[in-house]
């Protein structure tokens, strides 16, 4: 299990398109991807879940990833977030 807190730094925050992008990347891995913010825990492979985080720019999300490809998953997610979803 890997736990990592990442800050959302793109201008919009997790609006529809960046959220969909995140879900798409998370969905490529076999590992379970959980995201926590302000006491809310959602499934990182569910667009409804990710939107429910209502993550604005500057907010911090804790990722809890469990599974055989967890390392690759967190790396991919971290790159996506830090590269501002390639917007």
């Amino acid at each position: 299990m890997i736990e990592k807190t990442l800050q959302i730094i793109n201008e919009q925050g997790l609006h529809a398109r960046p959220a969909a992008h995140l879900v798409k990347i998370a969905g490529r891995f076999k590992s379970e991807v959980k995201i926590l913010k302000d006491g809310l825990e959602v499934n990182g492979k569910s667009i409804m879940g990710v939107m429910m985080l209502a993550a604005e720019t500057g907010s911090y999300l804790s990722f809890v990833i469990t599974g055989e490809d967890e390392q690759a998953a967190i790396e991919a997610i971290e790159e996506l977030i830090n590269k501002k979803f390639y917007e």
Binding site: E11, A16, A20, S46
Partner: protein
């Protein structure tokens, strides 16, 4: 109310006009059919069958969305793409679908009931969020819920508009409106909405009238009832008499002819009959209004309001977000000047947890420049964003609610820091950006001579100035009827400000509603005002009026009016003056 009752008399209802024009025609009520979900509570036997129905319905809705998105993007570019994309992605969300199918399996409820339960819960969650963007996703979810339920019941929403009609609805979503055959829409009347709601934007784009009424007309009116809607006054006339219809037919034709002529003249400069040039500028709040500004050949943006950027963010947007907006604005308007007013929050523009609340006198309270100077970090961010945008066009800064010189001095100190920082960071900016102040408090107006030493230009805000000079709260129904900028005390003060500014060679603009009031324009010209900033839609009308006036007669009427003591006398005199000159412009747009 039934049809028979309507046939007795014409009824006039007042609403809020959000897009100009006149429409005369039958009502078309648009109301998505509501299904009584209580009937769906019953237990189901075959859950596999329900799930099959659900899958089929979702495939159908997906097709509808793909189609609707295509049409929407052809007409409006990517304006509504986010809505369609998020609805489509919800339909693909296997975890969401599993929640629904679990409900079908475990609770043994019908597909429609389960969809309704799960999506209502989700929408309930979003509606309670603070951030506007995420909160509004609640409506996308509700809309999606409706669509799936309709598909489950095989109900197509009735978008059939087969003859020209005035569409009346509670509210309209982007997915709703694209289904109407646009050539049949004469106008929109919605129960809810505002200046930025979808129906308003669409109506402006289609150049048809839109009115928002608070009377639930979509539930009171019936299909086929004849109505007239006036997209200037906001009036809706139900079951008009033949005479009223004729009157409005005439108004409508005159308006269309006038519009045609005005638009074809839009390229020309604004000059009085005796060839004195006058600048007509636009008041703007959103970037999407810019094409309208350019179409009416405005001499620039006299007032860019920045509050909505903060209201949309429910607090402070970061510097880069602001910079992007100011940059686009400056670039699109270049070489014309763009006057950006720093935030005027407080008063009636409140953000929970950001501005103060429960003030006893909010309009005398913690608002505008007072708020900014108490929150230097917020203020500095905005000033930095404006300075960074300055290299992309012709930018000026305007400070709201100034009542003392200290406020200007403090602002200049912050600007000095901003410039030093930007220099240190090697970020380009356009040297010294002109810094102007709003004249909207009596203190600023009375002290105008001293302000000339501290400010580069002035902008008179007549709404607030009138409110403060007359000590009348415009939002208080008991006194608001006495709110009138034609009050001699207000006119006198405005005249003094304009005269002093002109003598001291300081540019002065009037950016309140008053700048587009036909009876006010000759007076303002007579006072020496040469810069008017207004709603972009009003520019062609004002330009036409100005072309029919010459300065000498404006000065004469102003000097005569200066001896009057009664508001009613002044108003009568001005109305008579316009009548005489054949300049009674009736089709002006109220802000």
């Amino acid at each position: 109310m039934n049809k028979k009752q309507w046939s007795v008399d014409e009824v006039i209802i007042n609403g809020l006009a959000t897009s100009p024009g006149f429409a005369i025609g039958p009502v078309y009520i648009f109301r998505p059919q509501v299904i009584n979900l209580l009937e769906l509570e019953e237990h189901i036997e075959n859950s596999a069958e329900e799930i099959r129905h659900l899958n089929k319905a979702m495939r159908q809705v997906m097709k509808q969305l793909v189609y609707a998105q295509k049409i929407s993007e052809t007409s409006y570019g990517e304006k509504f793409t986010d809505i369609f994309e998020s609805q489509k992605s919800f339909l693909h969300d296997e975890f969401l679908i599993k929640e629904i199918t679990d409900e079908i399996h475990k609770a043994r409820k019908s597909a429609a009931h389960s969809v309704s339960k799960i999506l209502s819960e989700k929408s309930e969650y979003f509606i309670n969020l603070e951030n506007t963007y995420f909160r509004e996703r609640a409506f996308d979810i509700l809309d999606l819920k409706q669509k799936i339920i309709h598909a489950l019941f095989g109900i197509g929403i009735d978008y059939q508009l087969t003859n020209p009609s005035i569409v009346v609805a509670e509210s309209l979503s982007p997915t709703d409106t694209i289904h109407f055959n646009r050539k049949f829409i004469l106008g929109f009347i919605t129960d809810k909405g505002g200046k930025t709601s979808h129906a308003t934007i669409l109506a402006k784009g289609l150049q048809i009238p839109a009115v928002i009424n608070g009377n639930n007309l979509s539930h009171i009116l019936k299909n086929e009832i004849m109505i007239i809607m006036d997209g200037f006054s906001g009036q809706i006339i139900i079951n008009p008499t033949t005479r009223t219809v004729q009157r409005y037919e005439h108004k409508k034709q005159a308006y269309l002819a006038q519009k045609e002529k005005l638009f074809s003249d839009a390229g020309r400069e604004s000059k009085t009959a005796d060839m004195v040039p006058v600048e007509l500028l636009a008041n703007v709040e959103f970037l999407h209004e810019i094409p309208e500004v350019l179409r009416h050949a405005a001499g620039g943006v006299g007032l860019f309001r920045t509050e909505s950027i903060f209201l949309e963010h429910n607090g402070e947007p970061d510097e880069d977000t602001q910079f992007e907006i100011y940059r686009k604005l400056a670039k699109k308007l270049a070489p014309h000047p763009v006057t950006i007013r720093t935030i005027d929050l407080g008063g009636d523009k409140l953000i929970e947890g950001y501005t103060s609340k429960d003030e006893l006198n909010p309009f005398l309270g913690w608002r505008a420049i007072r708020f900014c100077l108490d929150r230097p970090a917020v203020f500095k961010n905005q000033l930095r964003a404006i300075y960074r945008a300055s290299v992309f066009g012709n930018v000026q800064i305007l400070l709201p609610m100034i009542s003392s010189l200290e406020e200007i001095i403090q602002t200049r100190e912050i600007i000095t820091v901003v410039k030093e920082e930007l220099q240190a960071e090697n970020i380009a900016f356009a040297g010294d950006i002109p810094l102007g102040v709003m004249i909207e408090t009596p203190a600023a107006a009375i002290h105008i001579g001293a302000l000339c030493d501290y400010a580069d230009f002035f902008s008179i805000g007549t709404n607030d100035l009138t409110q403060y000079v007359l000590a009348i709260d415009r939002t208080n129904d008991k006194v608001s009827h006495s709110f009138n900028t034609f009050h001699p005390a207000v006119l006198n003060l405005v005249g003094q400000v304009i005269r002093t500014a002109n003598e001291r060679k300081r540019e002065v603009t009037l950016c309140g509603e008053f700048a587009s009031v036909p009876e006010a324009i000759p007076l303002l010209l007579g006072m020496g005002l040469r810069r008017f900033s207004m709603n972009p839609f009003s520019i062609p009308y004002v330009r036409r009026q100005i072309a029919g006036l010459n300065i000498a007669e404006c000065e004469a009427i102003y000097s005569e009016i200066s001896t009057y003591h009664l508001v009613s006398e002044i108003e009568q005199k001005m109305a008579g003056f316009l009548e005489e000159k054949g300049l009674k412009v009736v089709y002006l747009i109220e802000e």
